[in-house]
């Protein structure tokens, strides 16, 4: 497989105190490629995603990134008393989208994940899975070319979960570079590549399968 790589991680290291979380991690994700990032709890998957997004600074190493990023964190960071539309308007404005544009585009995305658009419920009163759909929708709102999805399907019902992996196929076809943190080994056949982060970074580096 060849092509441009919008996301390249080179020799990234991260320590918290005396604990090494990541050591010399390399990762290269091409346009139109879906990569699954796996590993035991504490292997540093979420930390690596945060470093790629720029939310956490690596102690060493380098990340290069081409294009707009869409980051879906594991825990939806949302305002408890704002509605989905409020969030869409707020996040859309960050990149200069108008109110109408943000809502129209956001609704189109959320509809694909069966988000209950007819309810004007504040996020605190949404179910965990529905909140997660909004969380994912916000990551997709600005049509990013690099998608960093940290266990984005948590709380999804079976139908939406299957739908999520169908969307991965669509994102691949659209030429997006997608990284999905996952523990769902049954779905690994649907990705192009699996990158496993070792539990003990000093023993081995990222293993590609």
């Amino acid at each position: 497989m060849s092509g441009p790589s919008p996301l390249v991680v080179s020799k990234v290291c991260k320590r918290y105190g005396r604990t090494t979380i990541l050591e010399d991690v390399d990762l290269c994700v091409r346009a139109g490629e879906v990569v699954a990032l796996t590993g035991e709890n504490g292997a540093g998957k979420s930390t690596l995603m945060r470093i790629c997004a720029g939310l956490t600074r690596a102690d060493a190493g380098r990340v290069t990134l081409e294009g707009r990023i869409g980051y879906c964190p594991q825990a939806p960071g949302l305002f408890q008393l704002l509605t989905a539309d409020d969030h869409l308007v707020m996040f859309g404005r960050g990149v200069g989208m108008s109110r109408a544009e943000s809502i129209a585009r956001g609704h189109a995305i959320l509809e694909e994940f069966d988000f209950p658009l007819h309810e004007r419920t504040v996020t605190r009163d949404l179910s965990g899975g529905t909140r997660q759909k909004l969380n994912l929708g916000l990551a997709l709102l600005t049509d990013p070319s690099v998608l960093l999805l940290d266990e984005p399907y948590q709380g999804f019902d079976r139908g939406t979960y299957v739908n999520f992996w169908d969307h991965c196929d669509r994102w691949r076809a659209q030429g997006k570079a997608v990284v999905v943190v996952t523990h769902m080994l049954a779905e690994l056949e649907r990705v192009d590549r699996v990158v496993e982060l070792p539990a003990h970074p000093s023993r081995t580096h990222g293993v590609l399968r």
């Binding site: 990134l65 408890q80 996040f91």
Partner: protein, 234 residues
Amino acid sequence: MISFSRIGIMAEMHGRDLTRRHGALALLVALPLSFYLASMGSSDYAVSAAGTGMAFAVSGATLFSILSSHEVDQRLVLGGYRPLELLLGRVMFLAPLGLVIAGGFALLMSLVSHPDRPWVLFLGLAVVALQSVPFGLAVGAALPQELEGTLVLIGVIGVQLAVSTRSNVAKALPFYGPRRLIESSLTPDGPILGPLVQTAVYGLALLVIARVFVAQRVAVERHQPSLTGAAEEV
């Protein structure tokens, strides 16, 4: 470049968030009112106490506006916002809200406590409300843990209430200027300009502190593209 449109959206969203917290809104009014009513035996002290209650209420609301959005703020910065826009959005909503509450209380206290200069009382309460916003922002930004932030807020405003304005400790605290203004309203010739300037300087310093800590807390590293454009790999 700072965008007024993004600041406006943040102000609107903080407004929506707070106006859906009906209990918090009620307490914003009830807290200064209870301080005032509880001190009614001493007319002069009651006016100062109401000011203190307002400082608690407005800075508390500000503190929680910054603490409750800890996770969202960094994501918003990733999505194109600047840390200063997040701060100014809060100021844009909370400062006018504080002024409305101050106006209501100034009217009430003018009718009940009959200060010598009601307009100075309004000015003093307005300054309390305005100072409370950067104070709450600075505490929330510097101490992002709820318990620590709340205890510092209670401690600083509590000490300000407890000590006389003649004490050196009082002069080092953020609500010294506003308190002097409120006390000036009870006399025909108390100082006005000095406390106003002092409050403005303190308020600006608090905003700078909030800006520094927020920028540090929500910082996003913007990764650059590869020097040769998108990296090619076979």
